[in-house]
Symmetry: C2
Subunit: 137 residues, 2 copies
């Protein structure tokens, strides 16, 4: 099987070469075989694993969660339910973040609409709202 250096797996999977080492130190990669001079020799498997990590990151999983996903992936006795639970938990979290941001968006849009953008700072409705907290709960 063709073996790859760290820089090569990095390029092949679109992550930084130092990041590969970082992931290894965080336990996201299994021990990598070494040459007699200490060089790590990766296989295509690591490229796949780095792609897995990259895709999971894009879905909002953090490295701790990705580590869990990977260990489920690696364990043939793991249950599909565990994967589904992680996914649903992340979904719920993302939805909460969306709600929070939507709340901010509404207030910001309201403020931007309220402010003419003309005239001096005194009387600016945005500043006034920040000063006195109209919509405070």
């Amino acid at each position: 099987m063709k073996s790859l250096t760290r820089g090569q797996v990095a390029r092949a999977s679109g992550v930084g070469a130092e990041t590969v080492r970082f992931y290894e130190s965080e336990g996201l990669l299994p021990p990598i075989p070494r040459s007699s001079s200490g060089y790590r020799y990766y296989t295509e498997d690591t490229v796949q694993r780095l792609n897995f990590i990259r895709r999971a990151k894009k879905l909002g999983f953090n490295l701790k969660e990705i580590k869990e996903l990977l260990s489920l992936h690696d364990n043939p006795h793991a249950s599909r339910a565990a994967v589904k639970t992680l996914t649903e938990t992340k979904l719920t979290e993302i939805e909460k973040r969306i709600v929070d941001l939507q709340r901010m968006r509404e207030v910001l849009a309201h403020l931007a609409a309220e402010c003419s953008g003309e005239g001096p700072i005194s009387g600016c409705p945005i500043i006034q709202t920040l000063e006195s907290g109209e919509s405070e709960e």
Copy 2:
């Protein structure tokens, strides 16, 4: 005018006492008058300013941006337009974050729906997607 200690302004505005000192070091608070023994003596103005900061944070502004808002607030010659611009920029940024999160939500919801949650890990559609990146651009 009644003067307040650091702990008192902190409690009155709902931020931590150390945070008050941190904000001062970051330039979000003006120089605070001191007693002869070195104690800072705050006034109600600082409570207002801390509330301003807290409210701006709730709208998604970071401290650097809040510092800009405060310096506009403090400058009688500042223009309302500058405040509006900061607000609109933040609005745009929040909207982008919402879009990004919505994309994640859609994929996660799709994956969660696709996975029965039953059976072994092999063949789990969530894991398979992470492995092979169905929806990669």
